[in-house]
Symmetry: D3
Subunit: 327 residues, 6 copies
C-alpha cells in the first residue's frame, strides 16, 4: 500500500497508516489544555487536531520519535489542514522501518553510481586506497546513504548527505576544470569533507545532534574518523604528507574561522572544495525557501525573512520570456 | 619577431624590443638618487638596473604608460634578474599597439564560441533579444574582449573579463543543474553581471579606474548601461518585470552589502550567479598566489600572507599519490 | 464633518466614520477563534473588540487596505481602549480618498515654498535645469508630496518624504556653511537622494514595498530615475561629468557599504548630505520613541529597547532648569 | 615683521625667522647618516635639507618642540621644496611665544561672540549657571581658546576646539529646530562635550596626549571636570537629576560603545549632539583631504586612501554648472 | 520559623509565609483573563496558580516589589509546581525586611574577613588610605555587602557584588603571581572596579537599574565616586598620578570599547584585573546555566541556547573517571 | 665558561663565543650593499655591524639557524649597540647544543615538580591513566619541556610551553575553586590543551611552523595526538564518553570560533580552561611589552601600539604609594 501524501492529501481523505511522531506539544489556553501531535512520513508532515481535556489520555504514552498507527481524516481549521484522529496507538519500534517515515531523497543508487564512477577514474593509487577505506566499506555506505546533510537546513532528509556530496563533487569538478585544480584530490575532498556528520547526527527518530556532534563538531569528527581508519593499516595506504593534505581539505572546508573551520583553505583544492560546498548548500536553501508556500503571504511575491537564507527574503516572481510552449 | 619572454629570459640574453612602461620610480639613497623603470610586455614584467645621477637624464622624459624601444641585457643583482639598459627611447604612441605589451589571456575566440553557443540555445526570445543588444554589437564585443576583470587581482589581463565571464557561466551552469535554477536566466546574469567594468576600467596604458568607476562603481554602472540600452528600443525588447529580474542579477551579484551589493540575492538565479562569480574569482586568485614564486621564501612550502587571498597563506606542497607516469 | 481623533477619543465616544483597514488578524484561543481589525485614519489607529465565532461572518469579506464605514463606540478592555463595532461595511474604493485615512504630515505647502525658494537661488543654470526636470514636473510633485519617507520608521506618513527632504536640506545648509561645501550642489543632493522611494514604496493602501523596491532598492532606483529623465533631453541639460557628480550624491548617501550604499562618499558635498540625512532620520526616530507612551512601563523613565533606535532605550526625564513660566 | 608663509614661499626666498621644531629625524643610508628637521610656524611646515656627517653637530642639541632662529633659503630637491639652512640656533624658551609658531585658526573673538550670544539666551537659570562655571572663568577661556580639537585629525590647530565647538553648536541648532529638541540643553551639550580635551592634550610644543588623556580618555575626563566644578558649590547650581542629564550628554556623544562612548544616547538632545559632532568632525576631515594636494598624484582627480576619512578616497573634480562669473 | 524552600518544596506542602512579589502578569485567553503572580524569597521563586475572572479582585491591589502574606499549598499543573493560594494580603512595607525575601549569597562575613585581611597587608600607605575611604566606611560596607553583581546575570543576588569582588581578587592574586604584577595595586583594582554598581542598581524591591545607572553606566559612576571621595580630603590621600592609575583600573576593566570600557587596559595590573573579572563572571554564568534544570529538555545532556552564556549551549554530562567513592 | 649576556654586554666587551644565527639580512643602500647578521644565545640577541662590499664573502656561506664561532667587540652606532666582528666561522651542527643558544626559561625542574605533584593528587584513576600516556612518557617530556608556547608572542622561548602550562594550571586551579569546577578535569585540560604545539612548531633552529602546524593548526593536532595515544591501548584507559570530554577541552580552549576554536566551551571545566589560558597568555604579552624598552620613545611613559597586545599601547608609569623601602 502506498504511503499517503501528507503535503497534498485533500480534505476528507481517510488515513489508516503508520506515521512517525515528530513533535509532541502540550498547550494551555486559559484553564483548558490540549495536546497536539505533529506526524510525518517521507512525503511530509501534518498536525493533528488538538486532543482536549481527558482525550489527552489517548496520547499520554506517545513520545517524540515513536511510530503510531493512526486512523483519521483530513480536516481543516481556519483554512489550515489538520488530521482529525479517530484512533491512534504506538507500534512496537521494530515493527516498522522508521526510515520510511522520514523525509528522504528517495532512491540513492544514481548517486552511488556517479560517485563510484568518478572514484574509478582516480589515477593515484594511494588516493584511491584511502577513499576505498570508506567507500568500499559496506557498513560505511549503509550509514552514509541514510545520513541527512543537516538537521533542518539544506538537504535535511534521509540520503541528503549523499545527494549533497554528489552535488558538491559535480560543481567542484567544473570549478576544477576552470582553475586547473587537481580534480582527483578535489573529489577526495568532496567525498571526505562531511564524513564527520555520520557521528554528529542521529536519524533513528527525528533528526538530532549526538553529544559528540555538539562537543566536537562534524569538522573535527571527520578528521578523527580519517585518522582512525588510516592509522591501523600496515603498510600505510598513503604517506603522512598525503594524509595531511586530506586532513587540510576536511578541516578547511568551512572556509573561515567564524564558520567553524579550524584552519582556512591554503591549497587550490581546498579553495575549490569550499566554494563548491557553499554553492550546493546555499542554493539548496534558497530553492527550499522559494518552494515553501508557507513563507509567503498569499498575495505577495516576496517572502518573509527566512533563517535558512540568513534572514534574507526570497522573490518568487518569474517569467517565460516569451518562450514558446514546449520548448 | 617574437616577443621576449620577460618572466623567463636567462641571464645574458640580449633584448631589443618595444616595452611598455608600467612604473617610473625615483628613489633616494642618502644624497644619491636614481630612477628605476618597470617595463612589461604581454609575457610579464622586468625592472631595469637603476639609472644613477646624471644618467637619469636618459629617462627624464619617460612616463608611465609610454612605450619605449629598449636595447639591453638581462643581468642580475643579488640574485634578482634586472635589465641593464644600453639604450632607451620613447616611441610615438601610434607606432605600437600597446595592447600587445599588456598581460593578456591570448586568443579569445574560444571564449566567444562558447558564450555565443550558449546564447544560441536560449529559449526565451525576449531574453535572447536583451542579450543581443550587447552581445551582437560589434563595438561592445571589441571592448568586452579586451577589458580586464580587475586591475590587479583575479584575471587582471587583457581579455580577463571575457575569460572570467566564461568561467562564471560554466560553473553557474553546473550549479543550475544541481539546484534546478533557470539556466537561461543564469546565463543572462553571467553575461551581464560585470558589463559595468567596461566603464569602470581603463586599459589603454596601465590598468586604472575611470572617475566614474570610482564614483559610481561597476555594479551600478552595469545597471545603468542595461537601462540605457533597453530604454530607447521601441517596442521594448522585454517587459518591465523581466528587466527588473535582470537588474536584480546585476545588482545582487556581490552577495552582501558589505561587498558592495546594493541588494542581496532574492532569486535562485541570483544566488547561483553570486556563488559562481565567487568561485571563479577566488580560485583564480589562489592559483595566482600558488603560481607566484615571489610569494615564497626559497625553502618554504608556505607563502607569505597575500592580499589576493585576504591575507591568507598558500601551501604549494603536492603529491602524485603514487600515480604512474603518463596516466 | 471633522475626522475623529483615534489617538485621543474618550471612552463612550460614538464613531460613525470611514476608516482604513490597516490589519486583519485572526486569532485562536483554545477552540475559540476571533477576528480583530486594526482601523486607522490620519489621526492614528485603534483596534476593534474581537469578533467572536459566527460574528466573524460580519467581517469575512474585509481585507487589508479596504475602507470601511463603521458605527461603534469607544470601549475599553483591561485598560486599553478598543472600538466596539455595531455596524461595519466596506465602501467602494472610489467613494473615499484613502489618503485622508493614512497618517499624514498635513499641509505640505510650506515645505514646497521652502524648497522652491532654495531652488530659485541656485546659480548654476545646468544644475537648476536638472532639478527642474523633476521639481517642475507636476506629476512628480503630486507623487513626491504624498510619498512616506519609510514604511514604519522615521517620517512614515503621507508627505513624510517631502518633510524629510526639507529637513535634510535645512540641516545640510548649515553644515555646508560650516565646512564651506558647495551649497547649491548639496541642495541638489538633498532633492535627489531619495527620489527612488517613489518607485520603492506603495501608499495606496497600507504602506508597502513594491517588488522593484525589494529587488533593486531605492538608492539604485533613484539613480536609474535620474538617468531616465536626463538621457532623452537634447541637448543634454548638463555635462556627463556633472551628471556623474549627481549620481555620486544619490549612490553614496547611505555612507557605508553595509548600510546599502554601493559607493562611499568621496566629495565634500556627498559627505555633508550623508550626515544631514542621518541627522534628520535618526533624531526623528528618537523623538518618535520618546513620544510613544506604549514604549514605557507606567512608572519608568526608561523605555524598553526599541528597534527604531537600533535596540537602544530612550529616557524621557527632563527638567525646566528653573526656567520662569512663560519664558 | 610678518611671518614667512612656509606653504607657499617660492624657491630662492630667504628666511630669517624663528621656527618651531616639529620633528627631528635621524636617518641612515648605508654607512652615511644625516639629520633632517621639520620646522613649522602658524602658516605650515617645511623640512630642512639633510645635515650630513659632521654637519650634524650643528643640530646636535636641538630637540622636538624647541624654537630655533634659522637663516636659510628655500631650495628644492627632486621637485620638493626644502629649506637649505645657513645658520640655526635654539632660542630660550621664553623669548618667543611658541603658540605663534603652531597652526592656528587665527582670531577667535568671533567664535566667543557667537557662543556667548547663544549662552545669553538660555532661559533656564540653573543651566546657565552650570555653563558659567566654565565659560565665565577666564582661566578656562584662556585654555579653551587655545586647545586643538584633535592631535592630527580634524581641527588640529590652536583654537580648533573652540571653532569645532561653534560648528557643532550651529549645526545642532538647526537639527534641534527640525526635531524639536530642547535647544538650550543641546547648546549646553555642545559647550561641555569636549571639555575633557583640555586635560587630554598638550599644545605647549607639538600637539601630544597627556598621560591622563591616554589612560582615561577625554570623554571621561570631561565628565570628571564637570563633577569637580559643580560638587564644591553650595548651594548646588543645579539638581542632581539635571547634572545627570548633562553628564549623559558628555558621556554619550561618541554615539556607540565601539567609538569610545561608555553609554549610548538615550535622550533627544544627546542624539542631536552626537550627529552634530559627527557632522562637524567628518566634513572637516573630508575638506582637509580634498584640500591637501599631497594626497593626489599630479594627474589624478582621485586621492590616495586617507586615514583621516577612514581609508576612503576623495574626489576633487568639480563643476561651475554653467554659472555666470561673478554670481 | 525557617523560610520555606521554594525551589524544593514538595507537592502538598502548606505555606504560610511572607513572600516578595517579583512579577505580576495579566494574561488573556480568548475572552477569559487571569492574573499570575511570581513570588519569591531568598531560596528561590514560585508562580501562583492563575487567579481567574472575579478572583482577580483578590490580587487587584498587589504590585511588583510588594511583600505579601500568603497561605497556600504547593500544587502542580501539567507537571510544573505552582502555589495554590488560599489567602493573600499585602503587608506594610516596613513590617518585613524585604532583603530576606530576595536571593542572597547568605552570610557575608567570610568575604569581609578575606578582603580585609588582604587589605591589611598592603604595603603602600597611600594605597591603603584610598581604599580605606570606602572600605572603612560603615555606610559603604552596609550597602556594598547587599548589592547584587548584576540584575539577572552572574551573582544576581544580595551580597553578589561582595562575593564577586572576593572571587575577582582571589583569581587576580594568582594571575599576579604568575605574571609578576603588583598585587597590592591589583587588589585595589578588584576592590574599586565595580563600586559604581552601588549607584547603578536598586535592590529595595526587585533588582532594577537606577536612572543614573542607565544614563551613565556603572563604569563611569565608579570613576566619579572615586573622584568624589578623594577630592575633598586635605591633604590628598594620594598623588594625582596615583589617582590616575586607580581610575585607569576602573575605566578599563571591561577590556574593550565594545564592552563598555571607555579605555582599554594599558598597565599590567589593569590587564590582570580585566581577565580576573571575566573569569569570575563568565564561569559563574556557565555554572548557573548547567545548574538550571529548566534549560534542558528532560532527556538531553545539552541545554538550549542560553543568553547568559552568549547563546551558547551547556553540556551537563560528567564522569567520575573510576574514582573510588569517598576519595 | 659562562655565556656572554647579549642584552647587557657593555661597550668594548670582547666576545669569543658560539652564537646562533637568527637572521641573515642583505640590504642595499644605493649602489652599495651589505649583510647584517642577527646573532643570539639564550640571554638575548645582538646584530653585527654591517659587512660591506667584498667583506660579505666572509659570511657568504652562513645561513639562518647555523651556529657560528665569533670573535668581536661590542661597539655602537648612533647609540645602538652592535657587534663588530673580527672573525666568524660556522661550526659543525653537532659540535654545539643549539638549544643553549635559544631564549629559554632556564631550569624547568620546578615546573615539572609542580605539575607532577598535581597529577599525583588526581582521584579518578582513568583520568590519571590518560594523562600518564603523555606525562609518564620520557620522550614526550623531553620534547614538551623544550617546546616554546608561541613563535614570537607569549612565552616564545625554550621551555615556554611548559611554563605556560604551569601558569594556566595554577590560575585555573584558583578559578575552579571559585566556581566549583572539577579541578582534576580542569588540570587534565591544562595539561592537554596545547600538546598539539609539539607537532606545530620546530625549534631546532629559529622557531618556525611545521607544515602540518600551518595546514591543521595546533588545536586539531592536539586532538589527533590524544586520539592516537588512546586508541591502540587495550583495554581502553577511559570510556568513550570520557575521551569526548577531554577532546572538548582541547577543541574549545580558544573560546570562540573566530579565534580558531572549532567548538565553543560547553562545560564548566572548558570555560575555566579558556579563561585561564587567556589570562596566562595575555598578561605575559602585556608584561613583555612593558619590559621592552624599544617600544617606548625615550621620554614617554606610553608605548607605541604593539601587535603583541592587539595594537594597544602600554603605560609604564608606576608608583610606590609611599611604601617604606624594604617592605
Amino acid at each position: 500500500m502506498p504511503m499517503p501524501d501528507l503535503k497534498r492529501a485533500p480534505l476528507g481523505e481517510r488515513l489508516q497508516d503508520p506515521l512517525l511522531v515528530l513533535e509532541v506539544e502540550r498547550k494551555t489556553f486559559g484553564d483548558k489544555d490540549c495536546t497536539v501531535l505533529t506526524l510525518g512520513n517521507s512525503t511530509g508532515r501534518l498536525a493533528t487536531a488538538p486532543f482536549w481535556g481527558a482525550d489527552q489520555l489517548t496520547v499520554a504514552g506517545i513520545a517524540r520519535s515513536d511510530v503510531v498507527q493512526v486512523i483519521g481524516e483530513v480536516d481543516q481549521f481556519r483554512g489550515k489542514r489538520q488530521l482529525k484522529v479517530t484512533s491512534i496507538r504506538a507500534l512496537p519500534k521494530e515493527s516498522v522501518d522508521r526510515r520510511q517515515l522520514l523525509p528522504s531523497v528517495g532512491d540513492v543508487s544514481g548517486y552511488w553510481k556517479t560517485l563510484d564512477g568518478w572514484r574509478a577514474e582516480i589515477r593515484g593509487p594511494r588516493l584511491a586506497a584511502v577513499l576505498a577505506l570508506f567507500y568500499d566499506d559496506d557498513d560505511f555506505r549503509r550509514r552514509y546513504e541514510e545520513c541527512p546533510a543537516s538537521l533542518a537546513g539544506h538537504h535535511a532528509e534521509l540520503g541528503g548527505l549523499l545527494k549533497h556530496t554528489c552535488e558538491v563533487a559535480s560543481i567542484a569538478k567544473q570549478i576544477s576544470r576552470v582553475c586547473r585544480a587537481n580534480w582527483d584530490l578535489v573529489l577526495a575532498g568532496a567525498l571526505l569533507h562531511d564524513i564527520g556528520k555520520l557521528e554528529s547526527y542521529r536519524w533513528d527518530g527525528a533528526f538530532e545532534y549526538t553529544d559528540c556532534g555538539s562537543l566536537m563538531g562534524h569538522v573535527v569528527l571527520g578528521s578523527l574518523m580519517l585518522e582512525r581508519r588510516v592509522a591501523p593499516i600496515v603498510p600505510a595506504p598513503c604517506t603522512e604528507h598525503e594524509l595531511m593534505l586530506l586532513q587540510h581539505l576536511i578541516l578547511s572546508h568551512h572556509g573561515k574561522l567564524e564558520f567553524g573551520a579550524p584552519v582556512q583553505p591554503m591549497t587550490l583544492e581546498a579553495e575549490v572544495l569550499h566554494y563548491a560546498d557553499n554553492a550546493s548548500a546555499k542554493t539548496a536553501s534558497m530553492a527550499d525557501v522559494l518552494g515553501d508556500g508557507d513563507g509567503f503571504t498569499p498575495d505577495s511575491m516576496v517572502s518573509r525573512p527566512d533563517w535558512r537564507i540568513d534572514r534574507r527574503r526570497g522573490y518568487r516572481g518569474a517569467s517565460d520570456w516569451g518562450r514558446e510552449p514546449g520548448t
